[in-house]
Symmetry: D2
Subunit: 175 residues, 4 copies
């Protein structure tokens, strides 16, 4: 999970670091998909990013919900931040996420791990209808068929338990 | 619930009547909506139809799932049958319905009642993006804001418990 | 999926066979589980049964919803029929299934296949708190941990796509 | 929403107040229910509490998720804190909430309002099987049938939009 909106969150970098040691942080996770006219998910999109530890990982779109920000606005912001202003996300109608991923700073409590913080991430599948391009520090954004994305080699490129979240999304979509 | 696709179901009218006295019938119910670019439901669409008993009722889109028909294909077929071929429904990605309405031939078993049959109806919210017009025997198709559609006078125009289903959809959508 | 309640369905065996060639049949699928006091699923139960073709398969609990039968009553009936009258199922509060499995008589339309019929199966996870024992024609009923049940050798013993349904349940449960 | 676990949250009262002005806070909301053996919700429980402004309100069980606390452990803690150590909550198997309520410090952004903070509350229906008694500062804990709890006089006693959340729960439960 990348975190670049520190300043917009009305927190100094230091204040955010302090809060992260004391409070669970609200996140959204997005599985970006392309769908056909019958609503069938045809491809799933993953970012490729170099982590601060120097490894290269695939990633879902995700990020922090800001103070006084609606969840649906946070979904739009993070999709457009990661996939570009022309990505045209179709935001879910209902606030009900398909799951909630609990990222713990301690590995092993759940399948999800985030060394920086305890994050409670509301997960949604979001069709994107426009042009998607990797933004900022992302190296690449690629589409995979459901079968391709389930390949062990692809799943292994997702860090911090995001492969579990992706498999949960595929199960929810029944693809 | 209207039922006009008897012939397409590879059943004579008589065979369908017989089956309806002996088996629960698989249905889909659709709450057609318009949404804004943030995914917020702005209006809900209801059909106006004269029933066979001579009353005039508001109705959701609904109908029978045919033999060898996928649920998503049934959703497309019923929306296009009732709202026209240009209605452009956006079919849900997941097969999970927001609820299941059990219509019983005996009133009072559930909020849902269908004198003709025991129907098990999978209910979905379906955004329509195109032009909608009442088809066949429908008198009218009208859009209501969430507040308007909750008016007791509007809810009272929905027969057979469909007002309960509509309220469940609004609750699911949190509007 | 076993089918033994023909007589109780107010259909002769012949009438049911006829209906199955013409109408989708309403089913329920149950993933029986044991849970701990924190609501965490600890084990998943699978039946072992000899099929009519002479193969031996693992199976979820499932069966037909009868005419004029509520879904929740059908869930109780099928769990007690397959796991015994002392199994004490805790029926879900909401009618919303975690998924809907569409079994087609033609293989390959969906992951789910039932040579006898087109079945639309509403799938629920059902904790059982009492004593479970295989009934009737079942050879065995066994509990598996989430990790054990995901073993390819166990998944391969589930026929007709039930392994896909089981994996969807595990994803929904986040175990 | 009451907030009494400040000290357990590894935050001084001042630090928590600061965080609340800068970050959305993770909450859980619980609709406590009694169910019959068929899984039908028979009654819904509401707390009666005097607010700091001197009004007397009905309330759902709710509270903050602590740093390094699992959602399911937070659900247990808040139910036992509000309904007593013998209340025996049956925690949901899946992390998927039936809805997410976004409480804003500014009234009118959503139906939910919390003057103290921006809270993102994951909402669950939780059957309680044991003895429930109001704890701490609560005046009363009472059971209502679904019809009783929908009475305008009862709904009016719920503050900060919790009546909307309760109605969403009833819709999800189809009672």
């Amino acid at each position: 999970m990348s975190e670049t909106e520190t300043s917009a969150g009305w927190l100094t970098r230091e204040q955010l670091r302090d809060a992260r040691e004391r409070l669970p942080i609200v996140y959204v996770s997005v599985v970006p998909v392309r769908v056909d006219e019958r609503g069938v998910v045809t491809t799933i999109g993953l970012l490729l990013r170099a982590s601060s530890e120097g490894t290269i990982n695939r990633e879902l779109v995700s990020g922090r919900v800001l103070y006084h920000e609606r969840i649906r606005d946070s979904l739009i912001r993070h999709v457009e931040k990661d996939l570009g202003p022309l990505s045209m996300p179709r935001i879910p109608l209902s606030p009900q996420p398909f799951t909630v991923a609990e990222y713990f700073p301690t590995p092993g409590v759940t399948p999800f791990h985030d060394p920086r913080q305890h994050a409670v991430s509301l997960a949604y599948v979001v069709p994107v209808e426009g042009d998607c391009a990797p933004q900022q520090d992302a190296l690449e954004f690629s589409w995979f068929s459901p079968d391709e994305v389930r390949e062990p080699t692809v799943l292994a490129e997702l860090a911090n338990g995001q492969s579990a979240l992706l498999l949960q999304a595929l199960a929810h979509l029944a693809v």
